[in-house]
Symmetry: C2
Subunit: 151 residues, 2 copies
């Protein structure tokens, strides 16, 4: 098993606090790289894919920018431009909200739903592969520890 010290090519052992933070960071980059490699052939970024899934979850109801940001795992100061790019691909539509003209209403299009249907099973499979080295019990422990860490 490749220890963090090997990855970072350091000969001095890393204190447990620092090692944990680095290990989380490194694992996150690793998972992101694996998923990105899969999404790349669809010409869509991880973040754009995430927005599409959120919009589908609204089941026809409109989402404004704050709805999307609330559900984004990446803190986005910049959802506007992300939506711009999805509009350019015809995956999403944006209208100004008539009741409150400061707000916008964002919808996923049929084309957006179709591409999601294509990508979803592949990402699911990739996520299964990413976690394949751990048993269900170990995965539950890992989730518990990460949640406790942040609490």
């Amino acid at each position: 098993m490749k220890q963090l010290e090997d990855i970072l090519k350091t000969n001095t052992p890393i204190p447990l606090n620092k090692k944990t933070v680095l290990n989380i960071t490194y694992s996150s980059i690793w998972t992101k790289d694996v998923v990105n490699a899969v999404l790349k052939s669809f010409d869509i970024s991880n973040e754009q894919f995430n927005v599409l899934r959120i919009l589908r979850g609204k089941k026809g109801k409109p989402a404004n920018l704050q709805d999307i940001q609330d559900r984004m795992i990446n803190k986005m100061s910049n959802t506007t431009r992300l939506v711009d790019k999805l509009i350019a691909k015809d995956y999403v539509e944006r209208f100004t909200c008539k009741k409150n003209r400061r707000k916008v209403e964002i919808f996923i299009t049929k084309k957006g739903l179709n591409i999601l249907k294509e990508i979803d099973p592949i990402v699911d499979k990739t996520e299964s592969e990413i976690t394949a080295n751990l048993t269900t019990k170990e995965l539950e422990t890992l989730n518990l520890l990460l949640t406790k860490l942040r609490s």
Copy 2:
């Protein structure tokens, strides 16, 4: 304890595979935000700080770009520009290697060492705080599980 489902404001439970990937991503963003908030007052980014620490680790010996990239936890296609910014701050010097003029030799300056000495204890303290909710045994388990995940 705030579950991932609460954070993402979804009412449907997330499958364990997907939940694990999301949990790692979210935890990584969380730790990065905490550390960045601390570094911000020093007008230095997480990545620039990381490069400085790597250079200090060379203890006077030169580092070329590949040395730095090998030790970077973030896969950097772009270490050149990161070093440019550190040079602009007088934290780092760059010379072309005389023995092999394709290579560069990068050194940390006294000013760079000084700022590191200032920042280090604060980051150490922050990392201790980040991991404060877990016992030593739990931290060891967490590191083990993450390492096993990637193996």
